[in-house]
């Protein structure tokens, strides 16, 4: 016992962890500070949290390295790819919190809501920088635990509880699958490190094939749950419908960014030797995901459920980037995610505004005649929907274009044709809502009173969608260079 030695030096590149440390410290401080903020002034907590997320995004940019840095004994990697993803995650979190200020203000314990959002953001930031299954899993659980609670935050509403419970049970099951898959890879290669596993699998040879395949399948299934790929999407509509609307907005963007980033890292670094196998598995899942998402969305009368299935459909399109398995495909995923963030946040902002005295504003019928009463919001919602449908010269078109082209170049022509078909199916239900907004008569009064902040958000998102539609080149170049600098 006397000669206990510490064989490991102080962690390298501690400063590369600065954004995460900042978020963790502020979130914990806010948890305490919130005790001293009176109930009617809880918006102070919200503004501090929004500021934290924004500053974290700036800090991420400030630590942006030219060369990938691997620190913490290989657990943590900081490259431009991770920085890009983290900025998207911080932005999505900040926007979701902006959408929450008005919506959540009458809720009990609202201070902790923002703290949990910050912790979820922290989990996702760590996931984007994970270089190791341990950090990946812990980041994933940190994110998932926060979101389970956030989904069930409206405790007095039955469907919120139901959504939280369903999401929690399926999420726990998917975590088990993921971990079980990881143990197989650990058994074969003796490591949790992505790069070491990649090397080990390349050397392992055919004797370990069954074990490795089981590991691969379980890991893909576990992650597929988190990004709601069919047939692992069952929780999505219920969780989206039951969650408070700002949380739905948050869930439909930020975890998807983190999920796809970690998907890319695992497939690209840990499993290059299995590219043939995982391409086949992912292609099958993508075919199913696109069909389920876009077809089921047509049957929905509730807009949150419709957008849930629409998310599933979009995930199917994004998967083309994974299947392409090259830099263009990965850059396409980043482009898709960035543009999807603006479209979704804009659409959900308008849904939140639609919620008013006695009316949930979540049925498609509730949007009837919006154009006559509030032409501004009608125009913004129309833009978001057209963009989600992928109509040219709006952001959504370039998002699809980026991943479709990458998949074609990688030789998956039939898959892209299939995706185009379901893209057209998807356009149907988006444009059906535009019909409600512009061509139907109002059933109800539009007497909602939205805050300046919400108005500003809608305007900014609309501008972003149009601007990216007209001039997408800077974003595309940024994504390409981020992927090129990936470790």
């Amino acid at each position: 016992m006397a000669n206990v030695t510490f064989p490991f030096p102080f962690p390298e590149h501690l400063s590369s962890l600065m954004p995460e440390m900042f978020v963790a410290v502020i979130a914990m401080a806010l948890l305490l500070l919130d005790l001293f903020i009176p109930r009617e002034k809880k918006c102070i907590t919200a503004y501090i949290a929004i500021a934290t997320a924004s500053v974290a995004a700036l800090l991420c940019v400030s630590v942006n390295p030219a060369e990938p840095l691997v620190g913490f004994y290989g657990f943590f990697v900081l490259d431009q790819f991770a920085v890009f993803a983290k900025v998207l995650i911080c932005l999505a979190t900040a926007l979701a919190m902006v959408l929450s200020v008005q919506y959540m203000k009458d809720l009990e314990n609202v201070g902790e809501y923002y703290v949990l959002m910050l912790f979820a953001m922290l989990g996702m930031m760590l996931m984007s920088s994970a270089n190791n299954f341990i950090v990946m899993y812990l980041g994933l659980e940190l994110m998932a635990l926060c979101i389970y609670v956030l989904v069930g935050y409206q405790r007095d509403i039955l469907r919120s509880n139901e959504a939280a419970l369903k999401y929690f049970i399926l999420g726990a099951l998917s975590s088990c699958m993921l971990l079980y898959g990881v143990t197989f890879l650990y058994g074969v290669t003796g490591s949790f490190d992505f790069v070491t596993i990649g090397k080990g699998l390349a050397d392992a040879g055919s004797s370990s094939h069954t074990a490795v395949m089981l590991g691969l399948v379980f890991i893909i299934a576990g992650l597929a749950f988190k990004v709601s790929m069919a047939p692992f999407h069952m929780w999505t509509p219920d969780a989206y419908e039951g969650a408070p609307t700002p949380v739905t907005a948050f869930m439909s963007v930020a975890p998807k960014v983190a999920g796809f980033v970690i998907f890319i890292r695992i497939l690209d670094q840990a499993m290059p030797a299995l590219q043939h196998e995982y391409t086949m598995i992912l292609s099958a899942i993508a075919v199913l995901t696109m069909a389920v998402g876009n077809l089921a969305a047509i049957a929905q009368r509730n807009i949150k459920r419709m957008l849930a299935y629409s998310t599933v459909g979009h995930v199917g399109f994004v998967m083309l980037g994974l299947i392409a398995a090259n830099d263009d495909g990965y850059a396409g995923i980043l482009v898709y995610m960035s543009i999807y963030l603006f479209m979704t946040m804009g659409a959900f902002a308008i849904i939140i505004i639609m919620q008013r005295e006695g009316i949930q504003g979540e049925l498609l019928d509730d949007f009837s005649g919006l154009s006559k009463a509030r032409p501004g919001y009608a125009l913004a919602m129309g833009l978001m929907l057209f963009s989600l449908a992928g109509i040219p010269f709006l952001g959504g078109f370039w998002a699809k274009y980026a991943v479709f082209i990458a998949a074609v170049e990688a030789g998956h022509v039939y898959l892209v044709l299939y995706a185009l078909l379901f893209s057209a199916v998807g356009a149907f239900y988006y444009i059906r809502l535009v019909k409600y907004i512009y061509f139907d008569d109002a059933r109800v009064q539009f007497n909602f009173s939205e805050s300046r902040l919400m108005q500003l958000t809608v305007v900014l998102m609309a501008i972003a969608v149009v601007a990216l539609g007209v001039y997408p080149d800077p974003l595309m170049d940024l994504c390409k260079s981020a992927v090129a600098a990936m470790i």
């Binding site: 490991f8 962690p11 703290v115 950090v135 940190l142 635990l145 392992a204 069954t210």
Partner: protein
């Protein structure tokens, strides 16, 4: 030889206990089977020279987690008969998946990964190796980042549980201690001219 016998004993009993958890009609029996399963798992850890993990398994899982489970089971009234409705309806699909998985697991186990290389030749650790010291050293150095994140995960679990269950009842009467202490004679007493 003796080691194999003990391995078979612990492994076999933990499988039987695991099946007992699922099949027991009484929820309390399920909990007891789970405790038995954890004891056997702890035995397996001891056989792998991981005595620290074995002890932790018994202390934390049996000592703390399962006691909590017992309380929860006793407080909830779970009607297992109702939960079992539709069991036969799902049996064909569920059973098929279970059989396919079983075949895959057997395939993976017999694929040669676990019978060759470093795993086949693993020997017992020398007696002076202290598990607790080793884990302590590596946990606070190499695995520091994971350790710290795990701490935050626990904090979030705590905050989440409190947030979801704490209710300030509006109809309940609270004691305002500060007001009680600060009260003056004039607030409570009034001179009345009779």
């Amino acid at each position: 030889m003796l080691e194999t016998v003990f391995f078979d004993l612990f492994a076999g009993l933990s499988v039987i206990a695991g099946m007992g958890v699922v099949l027991a009609r009484n929820t309390m029996h399920s909990v007891m089977f789970l405790i038995f399963c954890f004891f056997n798992a702890a035995g397996l850890f001891f056989m792998l020279d991981a005595e620290f993990l074995g002890v932790i398994m018994i202390l934390i899982y049996v000592g703390a987690v399962m006691v909590l489970f017992t309380f929860v089971v006793m407080m909830l009234e779970i009607n297992t008969a109702r939960l079992r409705e539709g069991f036969l309806q799902y049996l064909p699909v569920g059973g098929l998946i279970a059989i396919v998985l079983m075949i895959e697991f057997i395939g993976a186990a017999s694929s040669g990964v676990f019978t060759s290389g470093a795993m086949a030749t693993a020997e017992h650790l020398p007696q002076q190796v202290n598990n607790t010291v080793e884990i302590g050293q590596i946990l606070y150095t190499k695995y520091l980042l994971g350790f710290e994140i795990a701490a935050i995960v626990l904090l979030v679990a705590l905050v989440g549980a409190v947030v979801l269950t704490l209710r300030t009842r509006k109809d309940a009467k609270y004691q305002k201690i500060a007001a009680q202490v600060n009260v003056r004679k004039e607030d409570r007493m009034r001179k009345v001219r009779m």
